[in-house]
Symmetry: C2
Subunit: 347 residues, 2 copies
């Protein structure tokens, strides 16, 4: 039998960085956005389920499975806001793809970096449908691990060239500005969220506290703004004042999940929302006019990770950046697993 079936290609953190650098961050984000958009377009094919969470007082560990009928994928991801205080990542992740016909895994990968990329690529792809025409200035509130990826995705996919950065910790803003220097942006570091909103047509909120926060209050959001809300992504964790939600047209990935995890957990279960796949497939309207406030209440959905792993799989072949894991038992006779173990003693 084909030896390769028993070996699972594994993309380590080091491989992932090399792949991103070889392709270039902006190209990676733009190509990845195309895969994500293509999978939103064939949304109805996917086996969809809300993620499977295990909550604790420190955070949450989640499994996010999906399948398009030919390929199965899942992601393991945690969210532990207090981790940064110990020098650990708030979010770490890994994921895999498997062949539906045999159930055999075909790719295992780190997904801490890949998740940051897919989250940003999804935001910018969605903004093509929701942001006001000609937008070139984005406020980024929350300048943590996600901020630079968001900025570059919006540059590569939407043409954003002006950034207005704010974080409750000025050191985070300085880090973000430093990382994005010489990447083609005009960058303003701002002293308050209100300041950051000046002249921005798009605002990205990406903060990490696990609580009901109000990063944006109602008076800060003017007509025509597109809000890309990234950080409200689990029960009890929101970023926007409820009054903003009531003035916005709200777009979501998968309502059964977003009702639990997103900004709209603050609203009635029947509050109208539009599913992004319908906008992308031409079945529903995105932005309708210049005064409308649009809100992408993003929580991250399994299909986006699936798209990212699918994109990665193609890049792995192209770049050869992976290692081979001896992960699947391969007895000569499939019914003779025991014999295989015993014969290993002789080898």
């Amino acid at each position: 039998m084909d030896r390769q079936l028993n070996i699972v290609p594994f993309v380590s953190v080091d491989h992932m960085m090399k792949i991103v650098l070889e392709i270039g961050v902006e190209t990676f984000l733009a190509e990845l956005a195309d895969y994500i958009e293509a999978d939103f377009r064939r949304w109805q094919l996917f086996d969809k389920t809300p993620r499977v969470p295990s909550h604790s007082k420190e955070g949450v560990i989640e499994l996010m499975p999906t399948s398009d009928g030919e390929v199965y994928g899942f992601k393991y991801v945690n969210g532990h806001p207090a981790n940064t205080r110990q020098g650990l990542q708030t979010v770490t992740a890994f994921g895999m793809l498997a062949d539906v016909a045999t159930g055999y895994p075909v790719l295992l990968s780190e997904m801490t970096i890949l998740t940051a990329l897919r989250t940003a690529a999804t935001s910018a792809m969605v903004a093509k449908y929701l942001a006001p025409a000609g937008a070139d200035c984005m406020a980024v509130i929350g300048n943590g691990a996600q901020s630079e990826f968001q900025a570059l995705a919006f540059k590569a996919i939407l043409g954003i060239t002006k950034l207005r950065l704010y974080d409750i910790d000025p050191a985070a803003t300085a880090k973000c500005a430093r990382n994005l220097k010489d990447k083609g942006f005009e960058i303003a570091t701002c002293a308050s969220p209100e300041d950051a909103m000046q002249g921005a047509q798009i605002v990205t909120t990406a903060t990490a506290d696990k609580q009901y926060a109000t990063i944006l209050t109602d008076n800060m959001v003017g007509a025509g703004i597109h809000i890309n809300a990234i950080g409200g992504d689990c029960p009890g964790k929101t970023e926007l004042h409820r009054d903003i939600l009531l003035r916005s047209d709200i777009f979501v990935e998968y309502p059964p999940q977003t009702r639990i995890e997103g900004e709209i957990q603050q609203l009635d279960a029947e509050h109208p929302v539009t599913e992004m796949w319908q906008v992308i497939a031409g079945k529903a309207k995105g932005r309708r006019n210049d005064s409308q406030i649009t809100l992408f209440d993003s929580v991250g959905f399994a299909t986006e990770d699936f798209s990212a792993l699918r994109y990665l799989r193609d890049q792995v072949k192209r770049t050869g950046q992976y290692q081979e894991l001896d992960m699947l038992a391969d007895p000569d006779d499939p019914r003779d697993l025991f014999g295989m173990v015993m014969r290993a003693a002789e080898a």
Copy 2:
């Protein structure tokens, strides 16, 4: 920070075989059974959920998560009956443990071999509570990949020394008998299931067809028998005639899962069953008398995989049989994931 937090120990198929051989199969099974039993005893601590399946016409891919509040674990497992026809395993699996407090993975392992071991260890551990006293003879119907592990677990844990083997394919029986030669059994290879049942106090059914089968019919099961039903483990896949179920006292792992996947999918949703953890914790009776037919309607539950990974983790430390995977991104500043990727270009 501790470098080890970012490296995940990985137990490959080769490592797993070496660990099993170094410890010895029977010792491994007996020690593993103790971990499984200990976790059944503290059953109420666990975060329990039915496994998360993705069904296709060829089979099923499942995720089985659980947590005891300190450690989180999950297993990926597929079941594809037609795989053997292509020289592939019906079941392959891998799994991991993570630290609940940080969400960081702490162990990744092949679980094809480990699942075979934990299934057998669970069966034999349960049989301590359900099999008739003094049982020394077991019929094994279905002589595939699980059969030798079952036989050795029942020898190590229950003292079974006589085996009566039957499979629809005589080559499977011959393979099983060959593998178990010189392991301390008196082995009879049988021409029919009826023949295999002669003189057996325990019958293990472990067949793989995805269909409603009747490996055992009602007339084959006499008073006092303990039935260890392994193969009926997903919707539409059962092994026992319904009439046997009606004559048996039925013991299960986790009713919400067994009602869907086990033999009892043939019965009303209210049919009485006893949860094994209650028997093990002394809250319910196991076998009450010599004439009772006991049935362990085993489908495999997430806590058993958790116990197996917990046991493995201790053996990994002891044997040093693992490799280090660069699986978790480790920026010097947790908020500077982007900077880490960019700086990799300089390294």
